[in-house]
Symmetry: C2
Subunit: 327 residues, 2 copies
C-alpha cells in the first residue's frame, strides 16, 4: 500500500530548552552529567531561573526520530500529548511542517506542554532536566486502531514507561501493532530508564519487539551484562534485530548470528550530542523502509548521527542533511 | 554612581522564530528578501503554517543590544512589552538571566507576545515577517522617571515609531532622558522604517539625540543621500556621534570633523546575518561605558559583529563571545 505509514512513533512530546553551561553549574543544581532526570513543575521553574539564556526547539526522543524520518522523505506519524499552549503549537508545527501525521490534538485544561532543560557542557555532552507536563497525561485511550492505523513499524520509546499509564498503553499499543501486522520497535531511551523498567522491556522484547534500538550502556543494562561484548552475545537469544550505538566507536547491528560492525564517521567537534541516537534510529529505519540492507542502514545511520552532533539541537534537519559526511 | 545603569533600551520585545528557507519560499509568500515586514496575526499564522521546522529564541533589535551589553558585563535595562504567556516568559528570562533589569511586568489580557518569523536564506541573509502582538500595546504611560531611572544612555529603536503610541512615547522618553542627564541614542532599525519616519528621526536627531546607530542604507535614507559618502558628510551638520555599519566594508564612526574608518573582520561563512548590527551597537556602547575610545569601540564592535554572523541567532551570547576574532 503506497500510502502506508513507514513508522508511527509513540512517545513524549517535548520542547527542548537548550543552554550552554559549565560543569560547575551542573554541580550547583545537583545534576549528574549526561543523565536525564524527571523533575516536577516547581523544580523546572527553579532550574530555568538559574539557567542562562536559552534556545527553544522541538525535541523528544522518538519525536526526534519521527521528525528525522519525515525530513528524509519517509511517511511518519506521531502519538504524543501536548497542551494547547504556545509550546504545544510549536511542537505540532515542527512535526507537521515536515509532513509527519500528528494523531492527537493539543489538549486543554491539563498540565502545560513538556519541556526538557538541556544543559550543554563545553565537551558537547548534554544533561537533561525534564518536566513531563502534558506528556504524563498520555493514556491507554490514546492508542487504538484509529490513532495508530497500520504502520509498517510502531516505535515505542522507553521513556513512555515512566508515565502513569505508560506500561498499560505500551502493552495496548503492542497488541494493536500485532493485530495490524506492524513490527514493534523499542527505543531504550537511557540506561537509568532501562534500570527502572528492565523486566517490562525484556517482556516486550520476548513477546512483541521485532527491533530494539539502544546505546552501549542501555544494552548492557537491559541484559545486565558486564561488557558490551556480553550484551551483543545475549542478543542472539532473541529473534529481534538490534541496533546498538557506541558513540565514537560506531555501531553494531545484530540479528541472530548476523553481526555487522560499523565504524563511526570522524567529527571535527562534538557541538551538541543531543539527538545523535534518535537521528541514528531515523536514518536506519528509513534505509530499511526504502529497501536498504542492514549494512546500508548502519552506514547511513552513522553519517546522520555525525551530522547531528556537529550542530546545536537534536533533530536531523535540513541543515544537518546538507552537512552529511561523505559515505 | 557605581550602580548607574549604562544603557536602558526601549523597543520591541520579540521572540524570533528562525527557519532556513530557499529564495523560492520568499517568492511564494511574497516577501522581499532582507526586508522587515509588519504582519497581522492572521498573516502570522499563515506564514508559520507554510514554514518548515523552526527554532525559537529571544530577539528584538534593541533587546538584542541590551542582551549583548549585559552579557559583556555592562549594566543594562529594558523597557518593552510582552504578554504573560510562554513566549513572554522566555523573553523575560533570557534578558534577566544575563543580569539585565526588566522594567515592565508581563501583561495580561492583551495580544500575545510578539514573534518575528526570520527566514534565513542559504546566503545567510534574513527576511523578517514580524507580528508585533503585545509590543503594539506599549504606551506613553510605560516611559517615566520610575521605569527609566537615570541611565547613562537611553537607546531607542526606530521600530518604536511604528507602534500606535510610538511617536508620543519616544518623545516622552527623550524628555525624561534629558531631564536626568541621559544621552539619547537612536538605532535606525531599517531603511524602510527610516523612510516611514524620516521627519521624526531628523527632529529627534536635531533636538535630542547624542548618538545615532545605523547601517549604510539607513544613513542614506535618513539624509536622503545618493551615496554613503554624502551621508557621512551630512553627519558633520550635527553634534551627535554617528556609528555607521557597512557589512563587509566595516564601519565608519563620525563626530563633527572626526571620522574613524574601521575595516570589517574576515568571516569564513555568513551563517545568519540576524543581529549583526545590534551586536555592533552593544559592543560599541560597552567600550564607551568602560572608558574606551571611539577607535577601541569601533574595533571591538566589528569583532563582535563578526562573531554573531558566524552563528545562528541574533544575540551576542556566550558562544559568540568565545569565538571573537583576534583584534
Amino acid at each position: 500500500m503506497a500510502s502506508q505509514v513507514n513508522v508511527l512513533g509513540i512517545g513524549n512530546a517535548i520542547v527542548d530548552v537548550l543552554a550552554r553551561v559549565d560543569d560547575a553549574f551542573l554541580a550547583e543544581i545537583g545534576a549528574d552529567k549526561r543523565s536525564m532526570t524527571l523533575i516536577d513543575e516547581e523544580r523546572a521553574v527553579e532550574v530555568y531561573e538559574r539557567m542562562g539564556p536559552a534556545v527553544e526547539m522541538s525535541g523528544g526522543s522518538v519525536a526526534n526520530t519521527i521528525a528525522g524520518l519525515a525530513g528524509l522523505g519517509g511517511r511518519a506519524a506521531f502519538i504524543g500529548r501536548v497542551a494547547d499552549d504556545q509550546l504545544g503549537r510549536i511542537f505540532i508545527h515542527d512535526l507537521q511542517s515536515l509532513g509527519a501525521s500528528i494523531r492527537l490534538p493539543p489538549f486543554n485544561g491539563g498540565a502545560p506542554t513538556a519541556r526538557s532543560h538541556i544543559l550543554i557542557t563545553p565537551d558537547g555532552q548534554r544533561t537533561m532536566q525534564t518536566y513531563l507536563g502534558a506528556c504524563a497525561e498520555l493514556g491507554v485511550q490514546d492508542v487504538n486502531e484509529r490513532t495508530m492505523g497500520d504502520p509498517e513499524v510502531v516505535l515505542l520509546e522507553g521513556y513512555a514507561w515512566d508515565i502513569p499509564e505508560g506500561p498499560a498503553l505500551a502493552s495496548e499499543a503492542m497488541k494493536v501493532a500485532e493485530r495490524n501486522g506492524s513490527v514493534v520497535a523499542l527505543s531504550l531511551s537511557d540506561a537509568l530508564c532501562v534500570d527502572r523498567h528492565r523486566d517490562a522491556y525484556l517482556d516486550a522484547l520476548t513477546r512483541h519487539a521485532g527491533m530494539v534500538f539502544g546505546n552501549e550502556s542501555e544494552m548492557m543494562a537491559l541484559f545486565d551484562a558486564a561488557t558490551f561484548e556480553e550484551a551483543v552475545e545475549r542478543t542472539s537469544d532473541h529473534d529481534a534485530l538490534f541496533v546498538m550505538t557506541r558513540t565514537e566507536k560506531g555501531c553494531v547491528v545484530a540479528q541472530g548470528s548476523e553481526i555487522i560492525v560499523q565504524d563511526a564517521y570522524p567529527v571535527d567537534e562534538v557541538v551538541d550530542a543531543t539527538g545523535a541516537g534518535d537521528a541514528h534510529t531515523a536514518a536506519f529505519l528509513h534505509q530499511l523502509a526504502i529497501g536498504g540492507s542492514l549494512k546500508e542502514g548502519a552506514v547511513f545511520a552513522s553519517r546522520c548521527a555525525t551530522a547531528v552532533i556537529s550542530q546545536v539541537g537534536g533533530r536531523l534537519d535540513q541543515h544537518a542533511l546538507a552537512n552529511l559526511p561523505d559515505p
